[in-house]
Amino acid sequence: MIRFNDVSFTYGANEGQLPIRAVDHLSFHVKKGSHVALLGRNGSGKSTIARLINGLLLPDEGSVIVGGMDTRDSLDIFEIRRICGMVFQNPDNQLIGTTVADDIAFGPCNLELSIDEVNSRVDEALRKAGLTDLRDRAPHNLSGGQKQKLAIASVLAMEPECIILDEATSMLDPSSRQSVMELILELKDKSDISIVQITHHMEEAVLADYVYVISEGRITLEGIPAEVFDQFERVRAEGLSIPTHIEIARRIANATTAPYRPEDIFSFDGAVSFVRSVLSQFSPSDVPGNRRDAIDKSPSKSVESEDRRVDDVAHESDCERVVEISDLSFAYVSDAGDPVKALKNVSLSVYKGEILGILGHTGSGKSTLIQHINGILPSKKGTVVVLGRDLSDRKVVREIRRHVGLLFQYPEDQLFEETVALDIAFAPKQLNRTPEQVERSVLRAAKRLGVDSILHRSPFELSGGQRRRVAIAGVLAADPDIIMMDEPAAGFDPAGRDDLFSDLMTLADEGATLLIVSHDMETMASLCDRILILNDGEIAGCGTPREMTSSSEFLESVSLVLPSSKRFLNRFVDLFPNLDTNCYTAEEAADSLLRATAEEYSAN
């Protein structure tokens, strides 16, 4: 179906810029009807590959053959684009029509089909994507997930043989991402369409038939997903992550030297039953001496630190409250003219120095809540008191904003200065500080985010990840005491996300209060002291990660899921009644299982 023969592509080759080789002597192929995943870090050349497939870019060297046609042959280019439909990352920037039906019709109209044919294709595509009810809506009034489904429907209307998804789910929340993936898999099953999926979400990669890992425009690893993810260290080295259940099973297998086959531990259930059988037959004498130590003395870490955390919160009345919200409600009128109650009687205290994770599905009121805390939205019903001052006085709001930093989603969109240094200096300059003070604040913020070496460059020539870091530094430069962040790592690859969070956590060590809005229960549970769960504008729960993840029924009722390591451990409580299931990383979970096994063994 698609074949790359020794393809190279370089950006900026003819434009006098610094040439960047994005694709480097790449050869691979995609069979008809197969589902191939291209994995790699941000900037590894994945999107360039996608654009080479349907002739949006043409190779400098080598050739790209699609359905027997060469993309360099200009006569075939529109046929190639028809049979290889493409869905892009940003839902807003790929919808062309002013209504859902018009957008689907755009492609068929370009194919110069008759009106009747166009209309029947539109109906068909609407039906396949489950969008029939939204036919006459404006794209602007759709949710992110619906927009991406529309983009898929628009591709389907051209009757493609292959759909290329260029990080098509990376700007969606987990539940929309899942429903888009379900649609894609359904299409693949029903209509023999090939799928080329570019992603850094491992849960999507495991669904593929074959995986290529791309780094610096080259394939560094390939195979069926079970084999690729078995190469633990190499996948990690590529900045990617391993599905939690595979990692736990691998760690258990390593510690106990039990043999396994990659395909046995590839599925969640497979991994559980493998670990169960290993641990139930386990006896320390099977293990070589040096490894036994690792099991016996496996750090009994989390119990202590977790308890200390719980203590902290138990004594919360002693702590200084930096934010106190009581009985806050907020309503607005939507574009469609319906009144929306974004917040309903929310009361909340935030304590000095804590890390509070705010979770909830899209539209649950998370963003509205944090926008009240720095007074961007005025509190009309209820009171918001920040650092002891009531925000209903608008004069106080200006004063308080210098103490409360707010980072919106995709903050890189707000950069505007000529250089990184000037942009970071924007906030401290507004505070009438001396130039020396401003410079010091800029340097400190830039160092923390690792952008101090690019201070003189224009923010617009940086990569997306660097721009994000500059934007974050721009908020931190005002030295706020309370920092609120809305999905700070959205769109980042796993390693990029971990790096960013570890940089941000240094703020908490220095005494700042952090409020992090996210969909990602796994990361939040491992980072935060407390978790607040919002559902339809109301507080559904607030407490330690341990408390908030104790019931999967509760989390399901608010459209969230258990962290997968905890879900894994919950399958072992019958085997080990004393198992500590409050683990949010694979490493902790494997340790916890090994510790429980050792205890069980010595008890017998």
Binding site: G97, T99, V118, I376, Q414, F426
Partner: protein, 278 residues
């Protein structure tokens, strides 16, 4: 937010006026504009008042909504009326220092106000209130299509309009978000001298322009990926045929033009002065 409510002002409905072909409505709005402005005779103007009331009833749009459409032009209407009020010579009616109001001025000012109000109400009833922006864009493309023979890029023009319509709400959202983000960084758009405010504006406009360029780039690629190659051969999705009602309405419009330009000059003069005020 204001701009959005203006764009989305069309009131959905199924009345006769709603169902008229957008091209005919577009031409109708122009014809009525010319006709009401050229109506000098008070009887002709009275007829247009009656006509407007009848159309308003047929369109089933609330009187409050119709009246709201006058608001943006209220200042111009008042200004034009006052100009007539104080400048037309004739029987002095009232003196206010150096200013004098004449009877002729009063009548002429009143007619001017009525003429302008009728013009605005007719335009909004036929276009903004009963026709979606998309239908207007399509109508324009169709009406401009003869210009293609003069090498005017009609299709591209129409595509531009429709894309603009599609992205206005998106960009408004974006502007709102950027403004909030810069406010959070301490930018102040309400206080301070003009220089400080200008500076504040830069912090919104630059990111907005840059993101618009990026969106334009992305959109161009998305359009190319869906086989867009410009031009003339594309299937015209909204090409609609004129219905009987459209033809009937066209004749009514023609009648209105005849009334103003052929009948009006031959109407017998009215007995009281000011009937032909101008």
């Amino acid at each position: 937010m204001k701009a959005r409510s203006m764009l989305g002002r069309s009131v959905p409905g199924t009345s006769l006026v709603h169902r008229l072909d957008a091209r005919i409505k577009f031409l109708g709005a122009i014809v009525l504009m010319v006709a009401t402005l050229s109506a000098r005779d008070v009887r002709v103007l009275g007829f247009f008042l009656l006509w407007t009331v009848v159309i308003a009833i047929i369109s089933q749009i609330k009187i409050k909504v119709i009246m709201r459409s006058i608001r943006p032009l209220l200042f111009i209407i008042i200004f034009a009326t006052l100009l007539h009020l104080f400048t037309v010579e004739g029987h002095v009616f009232l003196r206010l220092g150096a200013l004098k109001i004449t009877r002729e001025g009063l009548i002429s000012g009143g007619l001017t106000a009525l003429r302008l109000a009728l013009m605005v109400v007719n335009t909004s009833m036929f276009l903004t209130l009963t026709t979606t922006p998309l239908a207007i864009a399509d109508a324009l493309e169709s009406l401009l299509s003869p210009l293609a023979y003069l090498h005017f890029p009609v299709h591209e023009f129409a595509m531009m309009m429709s894309i603009a319509l599609r992205f206005v709400p998106t960009l408004l959202d974006e502007a709102d978000k950027i403004m909030k983000a810069q406010s959070s960084r301490g930018a102040d758009y309400d206080t301070g001298g003009p220089l400080r405010r200008m500076r504040g504006l830069v912090s919104i406009l630059v990111p907005l322009f840059i993101s618009s360029f990026r969106r334009a780039d992305d959109l161009a690629i998305a359009m190319e990926a869906r086989c867009y190659r410009g031009g003339t051969a594309r299937t015209r999705l909204h090409a609609s045929k004129l219905k009987a009602i459209d033809i009937v309405f066209s004749f009514i419009l023609l009648g209105l033009l005849l009334l103003v330009f052929v009948v009006q000059p031959h109407l017998p003069l009215l007995a009281f002065p000011g009937g032909l005020a101008s």
